[in-house]
């Protein structure tokens, strides 16, 4: 049998179409159960909340960034107190973004405008602070997380680095740098430490990079795009008890879920329709599998029970 050149070309087109059809599908979704919204702190309405963290005693800390303070809620969603105030003094904040809780329940704030980390007790009393100073000077921090050994991990906005400080705030090391390669970042965002790994949202590289605590690159999750499992403006990350990763996308207004193997599994939503959040940024999941999602442009934190 003699085939002309045109025939393989037709075959190729057919196969391409087949390939495309093989990937066509509806959006896999799974619906969380909405529990409540956190909208008002004890001092007033939240303004551009950027991150959230459950405390050790059931309380929830919200970075009320537009008001440059931390709002505290109880498990029922009632505002209990706030701490921090606009300014650059001790215990004052200027445009904070990220938050982390250490083993002792102390609260670490990425005080972005003041380019420092400030540490508070669980009840909001100022403990200490230190400037985020990498190898090349002061850096605007985006988020902070604390390892079990007390080392403090900070993402740097202006140097595209992950910086490590000891528990006293002394600079230890940094890695990353601006770029698209493995281990490099373009605007590292929020981070979370779990099971000895650091998960860092790499915002403009539209991925989550995973490192060991010592800085060794392990792998990354997500890719550029607007399809399921792809990311356009990833901002927040949290892991549930099962090790699933939840990643917010602040432009597509949704939360995608990746399994233990870091494969996309579904989008939070219902019947193929993604649950819409309004500019979601930082999120957190507590021990009871409650998910707290900051929605910056609706100035609230949505609380869900995860499926």
């Amino acid at each position: 049998m003699r085939l002309s050149f045109a025939k393989p070309l037709l075959l190729l087109v057919a196969l391409l179409l087949l390939s495309a059809v093989s990937h066509a599908a509806t959006i896999p979704t799974k619906a969380p159960r909405h529990l409540l919204d956190l909208k008002n702190s004890s001092l007033g309405a939240l303004l551009l909340p950027t991150d959230v963290a459950p405390g050790k005693s059931g309380q929830v800390y919200v970075v009320d960034s537009g008001n440059s303070r931390i709002a505290v809620f109880n498990r029922n969603g009632n505002a209990t107190t706030t701490f921090g105030a606009p300014g650059s003094g001790r215990g004052e904040l200027r445009d904070p973004i990220g938050i982390g809780i250490d083993q002792n329940g102390r609260v670490y704030i990425a005080d972005a405008g003041n380019k420092r980390i400030q540490v508070f007790s669980a009840d909001g009393k100022f403990r200490f602070g230190f400037p985020v100073k990498g190898e090349t000077g002061l850096v605007k921090p985006i988020d902070v997380a604390v390892a079990k050994n007390g080392n403090i991990y900070v993402t740097g906005n202006t140097n595209h680095m992950l910086m490590v400080f000891n528990k006293s705030g002394k600079f230890l090391k940094q890695w990353g740098g601006e770029g698209t390669s493995e281990g490099q970042f373009r605007y590292p965002g929020t981070l979370v430490i779990q099971n000895g790994l650091i998960y860092i949202v790499d915002v403009l590289n539209t991925r989550v990079q995973v490192f060991t605590l010592s800085g060794k690159y392990r792998f990354d999750v997500g890719e550029w795009g607007v399809g399921p499992g792809q990311m356009f403006r990833p901002k927040g990350i949290a892991l549930d008890k099962q090790g699933r990763a939840y990643v917010t996308d602040s432009y597509m207004d949704l939360v995608q879920v990746f399994n233990k193997s870091y494969q996309f599994v579904y989008v939070l939503g219902n019947a193929g329709k993604p649950q819409k959040f309004t500019a979601p940024a930082g999120l957190a999941i507590d021990a009871s599998n409650r998910m707290y999602v900051t929605e910056m442009l609706s100035h609230k934190v949505s609380v869900y029970s995860l499926p």
Binding site: M1, R2, L3, F5, P8, L9, L11, L12, L15, L16, L17, S19, A20, V21, S22, H23, A24, A25, I27, L47, L48, T50, S65, G66, D95, I97, A112, G113, K140, I142, N157, T180, S181, G189, V203, L204, N205, R207, G222, E223, W224, G225, V226, G227, P228, Q230, F232, R233, K235, D249, S250, Y251, M252, L254, V267, P274, A279, A281, M296, L297
Partner: protein
């Protein structure tokens, strides 16, 4: 057995390549993994131009957001790439931080709206500089281009379509907001250091200033295009913005001039800021950006105040009319003050001023502040932005009825007369006198006009009469006398200081009896209007109610309630003692009495008058005449009358009698018959004041055209000699026919004036015993 392929080697190669590509694609997990590593221009564009992702155009592709394509070519129209949400997806702090812009999203330069008709968007080469979206509305891309703009020497750091140096971008559309202060717009490009440094609060709020030194006011000094704190894109809330720079105006907060307070009363728009009740920073009226229509015919300052303080205005309960209100538009230099370069100094000899004067603002006739000279306006005394200058603990309630402690006065209207005497320096001495009611009548002090010392008599606005009179008017011939006699009358506050029945006349025309055409003393109209050299005598002609001692402005002697005055003080404008200065100011022809025998300093320094006062206290005139409370109405005679056949003789014999102290000055014979009536005329014309005048007197002692001949017919008691116009020698000398107070002594025809050639005979007959014996005619 192998089957031989029918394809040519070339075709076999092509097919293998295609199958290889296909195979790779088949085994790919449906994800463009390489894309994440790819930093191609295409991907970089898609960071914002999300709709350019080919994912959307793939058949059966599943996307998490809907496809909303726009033309790929730059049309200047809005694409999803320039929506707020796209901008925020990076500017949320995680990549770049523009959260301030969204923190107060409602105070954001309007987007999604059509420009108002007042906005004329500029064009360049026929193309709009600031494109609107498909619906003709403003969007982010109207001012910004994410692609950046080449600004020649630099590249747009904010992706602005036009360089916004010194707010040039803002002004491209809003040019009507920067036409200058004369058109009622807040000044721009003015050095803020004129009013102080750039306030830290504005710096913190992100305000910007223009010029090389970043110290000139531009649009962004007050406005923030994104994330403003208040409406109108204000960088600081409307309550605080103005006073952030104009810190000296912050006292208006919480006062009746505070917009919020006025709004509560329904007087203005409740949405006004602290200052915007009165000032519109753009398109106001006049240089002070006045929010109200200015009344024509007034200077700007006055017109501003009258905007509300008129019968129909918001402050109609505080009307300021022109009647009996402190004058405006007048210079202070007439008061004895020089105002140059903001320094006020008092000048003049008779001014008592302790310490330096507080400079107050003065204005030209248009209401513009001037540093030299200038005129008074409402805001000379009032600072509409500060209710009170007193320390916080002493400040009165700014919402209560105002008194001298508040009322927006720049200096308190207090018992020290602080504000009034800051200009009226020549009246500051009243504080030290009994005309300070705190001294003379404490129970009546401070009852009028806000409690200030001057307010006991004067009311700066809406007074009851001339001189801003604050009290009732008493009895009297003219307004000045009525003012004085509100207190100086029976039952009045000064009822123990009355002038009595026999008192110097008031309300008389000075021209009728005085030969000095321009005395230094003030005269008044019947209604109390002041005039020098023209008008009538009144109390204020001789008395300066604001200064006890005319020689010593700082004298405290009058500051005791029980002190009794005399001719040296007693609020006299010119001392009447020990000399005769006051009286001769009007009674000029009497001035030569000094140092004559009729000056009791010479002949009777210890001789008391009827009131028991000697010449040192009464002055020369006061020994014979008492201006007030005289025992006799005739010539206000101050002494006990002597014997005599007519009143004038009785006056003279008060002293010139055997039992009186001038008993040694008697004619040997006083036998000239008084019954003889003479005519005080020459050629049928009155001769008073003229040479050769021989006054005759009626039965009441008044000079008459026809009357008895008596002592003053021949003697002028105020002038020792007519030969020389001068005072006496100060020595008690023996007179002769050339002096001896004789009228017209230079002429030897004293007697012949009446008697003609028969005079010598008559003289001998009446004054020599021998002649009378020889020719006994009477």
């Amino acid at each position: 057995m192998m089957t031989k392929c029918a394809l040519s080697p070339t075709h076999r190669y092509n097919l293998a390549a295609l199958l290889l590509i296909f195979g790779i694609m088949m085994f790919l997990p449906g994800k463009n993994v390489w894309a994440a590593r790819d930093i191609s221009p295409k991907r970089e564009c898609s960071i914002c131009h999300v709709m350019w992702l080919t994912t959307f155009t793939r058949k059966n592709a599943v996307t998490l957001i809907p496809y909303d394509p726009k033309p790929v070519v730059d049309t200047g129209k809005q694409d999803v790439s320039s929506t707020e949400r796209m901008c925020f997806s990076c500017h949320d702090g995680f990549v770049l931080d523009s959260r301030f812009a969204w923190a107060n999203r409602e105070h954001f330069h309007p987007v999604g709206v059509k420009p108002s008709a007042k906005i004329e968007i500029p064009t360049l080469e026929g193309k709009t500089v600031f494109p609107l979206n498909d619906e003709g509305k403003i969007y982010c891309g109207t001012c910004h281009s994410a692609h950046g703009i080449d600004w020649e020497e630099t590249f747009s750091p904010l992706f602005l379509r036009v360089k916004n140096e010194n707010s040039s971008l803002c002004l491209a559309c809003h040019v009507d907001r920067a036409t200058g202060i004369e058109e009622g717009n807040h000044p721009m490009f003015k050095n803020i250091e004129n009013i102080g440094k750039v306030p830290a609060r504005l710096q913190e709020a992100g305000s910007k200033f223009g010029g090389r030194k970043q110290n000139k006011v531009i649009c962004q000094s007050c406005h923030r295009v994104h994330g403003a704190a208040d409406k109108k894109l204000l960088a600081v809330n409307k309550h605080d913005l103005c006073i952030t720079c104009h810190a000296n105006k912050k006292g208006v907060d919480g006062t009746k001039h505070d917009a919020a307070i006025m709004a509560k009363k329904g007087l203005i728009d409740p949405d006004s800021g602290l200052c915007t009740a009165c000032h519109k920073p753009h398109t106001g009226n006049g240089p002070r950006m006045w929010a109200f229509k200015l009344k024509q015919g007034e200077n700007r300052i006055t017109a501003m105040c009258l905007s509300c303080h008129n019968p129909k205005g918001a402050a109609k309960k505080k009307v300021i009319s022109k009647k009996h209100t402190h004058p405006i538009g007048v210079s202070i230099e007439n008061l004895g003050i020089s105002a140059t370069r903001g320094q006020w100094k008092a000048f003049g000899e008779n001014v008592y001023v302790k310490g330096s004067l507080t400079p107050l603002p003065l204005y030209d006739k248009y209401g513009n502040p001037v540093s030299k000279g200038g005129q008074i306006a409402c805001t000379t005394c009032h600072d509409p932005h500060n209710w009170s200058t007193l320390p916080a603990k002493q400040r009165p309630d700014p919402l209560a009825e105002g008194d001298g402690r508040g009322s927006f006065l720049r200096i308190p209207f207090d018992r020290k007369a602080s504000i009034c005497t800051n200009c009226h320096v020549d009246k500051a001495m009243v504080v030290l006198s009994k005309h300070n009611l705190q001294i003379s009548s404490p129970e009546n002090a401070g009852k009028n006009s806000g409690g200030g010392l001057c307010g006991d008599c004067h009311k700066p606005h809406e007074g009851a009469g001339p001189n801003l009179w604050a009290r009732d008017l008493g009895p009297g011939n003219d307004t000045i006398e009525k003012m004085c006699r509100d207190c100086h009358r029976e039952g009045g506050i000064a009822g123990n200081k009355l002038t009595g029945e026999n008192s110097h006349p008031v309300g008389v025309d000075i021209g009728r009896l005085v030969y000095n055409p321009k005395p230094e003393l003030p005269l008044f109209s019947k209604t109390g209007k002041l005039g020098y050299g023209k008008g009538r005598v009144s109390c204020g002609t001789c008395h300066n109610p604001h200064q006890w001692d005319p020689r010593d402005p700082g004298s405290i002697e009058g500051g005791f309630p029980d002190v009794e005055g005399n001719g040296q003080n007693s609020f006299l404008r010119i001392p009447a003692a020990p000399g005769e200065e006051l009286c001769v100011e009007c009674h000029t022809e009497k001035r030569f009495i000094r140092k004559t025998d009729h000056d009791l300093h010479v002949t009777g320094p210890n001789q008391p008058n009827a009131a028991g006062d000697t010449v040192d206290k009464t002055g020369i005139c006061g020994q014979c005449h008492m201006v007030h409370n005289a025992p006799s109405r005739l010539r206000l005679w101050a002494r006990k009358l002597g014997p005599g056949k007519n009143p004038m003789e009785q006056l003279c014999r008060s002293c010139h009698n055997k039992d009186r102290f001038a008993g040694n000055k008697l004619p040997t014979r006083i036998t000239h018959p008084v019954e003889i009536r003479g005519i005080s005329m020459r050629g049928g014309q009155p001769t008073k004041g003229k040479k050769g005048h021989r006054p005759v007197f009626d039965d009441q002692g008044k000079e008459a055209r026809s009357g008895v001949i008596t002592c003053p017919t021949c003697h002028n008691p105020h002038k020792w000699t007519d030969i020389k116009q001068r005072p006496g020698t100060g020595k008690n000398v023996e007179g002769d026919v050339r002096n001896s107070f004789l009228r017209d002594a230079r002429n030897v025809d004293l007697c012949a004036n009446c008697h003609g050639m028969d005079a010598i005979f008559r003289f001998k007959y009446f004054h020599a015993e021998a002649s009378r014996r020889k020719h006994r005619l009477y």
